[in-house]
């Protein structure tokens, strides 16, 4: 329990603080335009839109936080506290409505518009004001009650709600996938014309909750069963799983349709880049903010060597150019790394950022226009053809990206476990010690830049054929930040983490088009929050989990904190 919550005044203060904080968060979401942007996305048709889900999430969060902070108190106290905090969130939100209706905030805050106020008051004018407060109070109470529930009950409920939420959120995509035959039947069962029907949501809830119960019941026995099998049988089982995965990938683009395939290709490209940057940042600890340069180099190499346009250097087939592009990016990586070998830590990040920008500005300039096409870029890049099959669109390119990603992930995994990989990790942990132990830090770091760059080069090569053209504007610093964000979210140094990160940070925003304007807002918030709550990422490596969690807990012990501070001074 927090000391502040011990006294009666402390109790009130923590409620007010929590409510005000989450209320400010809700107001921020409203004013930044997110609430209005997602107000048309219905989760359950006619019942709940994403905008309200977001707003009520604030009340829910406030309630949960109060309840967590008051762990050890009576249940009714926690629920009342949570409800109060939720009510405060409602008051804060409605304050915005009341103020906004009398003062024109729009001069400064472009989103403080009447439609927003309509949303915030349930479209009932001032009559909706108490309604929102009531709703937030309820959300706060529910949020406070959630930690009180026993896990066997909470888990299925959360699973059910998440299922209904996710299907509702992506209902248009799900409906696209359910077009014919049995699938069409399923569609008419769950959806109405406007979206997910209420009964559909309930069905999904029951389905997922039941699945969760079953899983809790049978997961451990199933695992024991698999472990208990003789090795040969287990190998067969593994082959069957792998076969199923491959089959799923093969039919995926045709089931999912053009749009999702397009998104998945992007996810694949970012996974490729992420694997490269992961090698630099995650394995070798070299924070590189100019990473997009290698992506650009790969794309431009393909562009210039295959284009049918006037800038062509050669007219080679894409398949012959890919190895060339990879090697060119590898060499570029080594040359990029050479001058900055002796820079460390924060300075390295800025220096690489500078390098990346130099390359982009040079490509964009009129000076190199005769060779690289300036801002118009390189056009007319033909699609690759394999034994008569043309990789026309995303549904074909997806195979290419999947194969390339799998290959690169395999290489990365083998590298990680190799002598070189161990050397990278030694350099990451402490460069001086690594050098003292006889590791040639120069070669090791150059190889990290080179191989990381080569991976990004492959990604760029596919990117070039995906667009059929290459523009310098596609290679700004935001891409580097994007890639960095995804490997951090996934877990630095973790290979499955890259995949998870790019699905979460590239796939999701593409599917939720309304979010596109807020993508970097969310990335920024995610980076800050992740660094505090889960610096090891969503799918961490074992080492990172151990280290970062020990480090985070250590300062709680006073004597330990001083020691840590001393250690920090030492490496500073």
């Amino acid at each position: 329990m927090e000391p502040a919550a011990k006294t009666a005044r402390g109790v009130w203060r923590s409620v007010v603080q929590t409510g005000a904080l989450w209320g400010a968060g809700a107001i921020f979401l409203a004013l930044v335009g997110l609430v209005e942007a997602v107000s048309h996305r219905q989760i359950v048709a006619g019942v709940l839109s994403l905008a309200y889900a977001l707003l009520l999430l604030a009340g829910l969060g406030a309630g949960t936080q109060v309840s967590r902070r008051w762990a050890g108190r009576a249940a009714w106290q926690r629920i009342v506290g949570g409800a109060l905090a939720g009510a405060l969130v409602g008051v804060a939100v409605e304050l915005l409505v009341v103020i906004g209706r009398s003062v024109n905030l729009r001069i400064m805050l472009i989103n403080a518009s009447p439609p927003l106020y309509e949303i915030l008051s349930f479209g009932r004018g001032l009559g909706g004001v108490p309604l929102m407060m009531l709703a937030q109070t309820g959300a706060g109470a529910i949020g406070a009650a959630a930690p009180l529930l026993p896990p066997w009950f909470r888990r299925p409920v959360i699973a059910g709600l998440s299922m209904a939420f996710v299907i509702g959120l992506f209902q248009d995509l799900v409906q696209l996938m359910l077009q014919s035959g049995v699938r069409a039947g399923l569609r008419s069962l769950l959806f109405t014309g406007d979206g997910l029907a209420l009964h559909g949501a309930v069905l999904l809830f029951v389905f997922a909750a039941g699945l969760s119960v079953l899983r809790a019941r049978y997961r451990a026995p199933a695992g024991r069963w698999a472990v208990g099998l003789p090795p040969q049988r287990r190998r067969v089982l593994r082959w069957i799983t792998m076969g199923a995965v491959v089959a799923a990938i093969l039919i995926l683009p045709w089931v999912a349709g053009l749009f999702i395939s397009q998104v998945l290709v992007l996810v694949g490209l970012y996974t490729l880049m992420g694997l490269g940057l992961n090698l630099e940042v995650g394995f070798a600890g070299l924070l590189d903010l100019g990473f997009v340069a290698f992506f650009a180099i790969g794309a431009y190499t393909v562009g210039l060597l295959t284009t049918t346009g006037p800038l062509a250097v050669a007219h080679l087939a894409w398949w012959t150019v890919v190895p060339i592009a990879t090697v060119v990016s590898l060499i570029a990586g080594v040359f990029f790394g050479l001058p900055i070998l002796r820079i460390r830590g924060d300075y390295l990040a800025i220096a690489t950022l500078g390098f990346g920008e130099i390359i982009r500005l040079l490509v964009l300039s009129d000076f190199l226009r005769p060779w690289l096409g300036g801002s118009q870029g390189v056009l007319g890049i033909p699609r690759p053809v394999l034994v008569g099959l043309e990789f026309r669109g995303p549904q074909q390119l997806i195979y290419l990206t999947v194969v390339a990603s799998a290959l690169v992930a395999f290489v990365a995994a083998r590298l990680r476990d190799s002598r070189l990989g161990r050397a990278w990790m030694a350099v990451r942990e402490d460069e001086d010690v690594a050098e003292a132990l006889g590791i040639n830090t120069v070669n090791v770091k150059l190889l990290a830049y080179g191989i990381g760059g080569a991976f990004a080069g492959v990604s760029g090569a596919i990117f070039a054929v995906m667009l059929g053209s290459v523009f310098p504007h596609s290679f700004n610093v935001l891409i580097s930040i994007n890639v960095l964000a995804l490997i951090i979210v996934g877990g630095m140094g973790s290979l499955p983490g890259v995949m998870v990160g790019s699905l979460a940070l590239v796939g999701l925003p593409e599917l939720l088009r309304e979010f596109s304007d807020f993508r970097f807002l969310v990335y920024g918030a995610v980076l800050i929050v992740m660094m505090q709550l889960r610096p090891e990422g969503l799918w961490p490596t074992a080492v990172a989990r151990r280290e970062l969690h020990d480090g985070a807990q250590a300062p709680a012990v006073p004597g330990h904190a001083v020691e840590l501070a001393g250690a920090k001074e030492g490496d500073g």
């Binding site: 001069i107 805050l109 472009i110 220096a351 807020f518 800050i528 660094m531 610096p535 840590l564």
Partner: protein
């Protein structure tokens, strides 16, 4: 006989010590130097630009550089204390400029703007400083303070996140377009200083920067808080043992740096006459260059570095690149700044005035 052997050994040692990297770095250095010398020589030899043109560029460079210098102060002071690059500092600068735009707009509509230019400027500056400072304190509290004991990469990533969060929050709140700053009638045209015509805005920027710099320097060197700041930057633990409230000093450092950045934002907007949510990114990086150039953690160094960078960036394209026969050299203005950044980081991370601190802080 023995002497030649020793000589040979020394020579071999010297040669052995010269690694491939050294050779590469020397080649890089010489190439840049050669480009600068050849370009300068050819430009000057061709005599294509008159003296007045150069003077304009120099004045522009100085005014630009003084803005960089003001922003650089924040980097330098924070780095001096926390050994951390406040990556979001450029965006804090943007917040000041952008928020002050609304104050300027309101004053303009009220008609005060041109009737009372000095008062208006003071109000705008105050708004900018307030906005920047509050954002900076928020960022410090939310994104940096919880991570003070974390491994080094962690706060930097958090700072990158903060930077993008601020940018896109401002984009969402204020809009994504360019907003035109109103212009002061008084500051249009040129002033004649010693027979040299200087654009008035630029003169204002230079003078305002000089005043602010002087104040800041006095604050850091003469006041008790300033002394405490220097003590914390020298050794945080010893300072804490001496009874200095380190947390408070860190907050004050952020606040002072942000105030300077906010003021810089207004000055920047006076020169360029527009604001945009992404306007802080490049000036931020350039100001960081200036801070490193002058020796990070060193306040006069930041001023010097800013001026140097501004000058080079404004004169460089014409002086060097034009002479090398590069088309549209002004497009590559930022390339010059970034090349300087990379070169400083590679060759002299301790900066011009940074020798004293080199061992400990770089």
């Amino acid at each position: 006989m023995a002497a030649t052997l020793v000589a040979a050994r020394i020579q071999r040692n010297w040669l052995q010590r010269l690694s491939v990297i050294d050779i590469f770095l020397w080649a890089f250095r010489l190439a840049v130097l050669a480009a600068v010398v050849v370009g300068t020589f050819r430009t000057l030899y061709s005599g294509r630009y008159a003296g007045e043109v150069w003077l304009d560029f120099v004045v522009f460079g100085v005014s630009q550089g003084s803005v960089y210098a003001l922003i650089a102060l924040g980097y330098t002071m924070v780095y001096g204390i926390l050994r951390m690059i406040n990556f979001a500092h450029g965006d804090i600068f943007m917040c000041g400029a952008y928020t002050a735009y609304y104050a300027a707009g309101a004053l303009y509509r009220a008609g005060v703007f041109n009737r009372q230019p000095l008062l208006s400027l003071a109000i705008i500056l105050a708004v900018a400083v307030t906005a920047s400072t509050s954002v900076a304190l928020l960022v410090e509290r939310v994104a940096y303070r919880p991570l003070r004991r974390a491994p080094r990469l962690v706060p930097l990533i958090s700072a990158i996140g903060a930077s993008f969060f601020i940018e896109y929050a401002v984009r969402g709140l204020y809009g994504s377009g360019f907003q035109a700053y109103p212009e002061f009638e008084v500051f249009k045209g040129k002033w004649n200083v010693f027979g040299i015509g200087i654009l008035r805005t630029q003169a204002v920027v230079i003078v305002a920067t000089l005043i602010l710099m002087g104040l800041l320097y006095l604050f850091v060197m003469r006041t008790k808080t300033g002394t405490a700041m220097r003590a914390v930057s020298e050794d945080m633990e010893v300072a804490a043992l001496m009874g200095i409230n380190v947390d408070r000093i860190i907050v004050i450092t952020f606040a002072v740096g942000a105030a300077a950045a906010g003021a810089a934002g207004v000055l920047y907007a006076l020169v360029f006459k527009q604001v945009h949510f992404f306007m802080g990114f490049y000036p931020g990086i350039k100001a960081f260059t200036a801070a490193v150039l002058g020796g990070i953690g060193n306040i006069p160094g930041a001023m010097l570095g800013g001026l140097f960078l501004g000058l080079f960036e404004s004169v460089g394209p014409i002086l060097v690149l034009d002479g090398l026969g590069i088309v549209a050299p002004y497009q590559l203005k930022d390339v010059i700044a970034f090349t300087m950044l990379v070169m400083v980081l590679i060759f002299r991370p301790s900066g011009i005035l940074g020798e004293r601190l080199a061992g400990k802080k770089a």
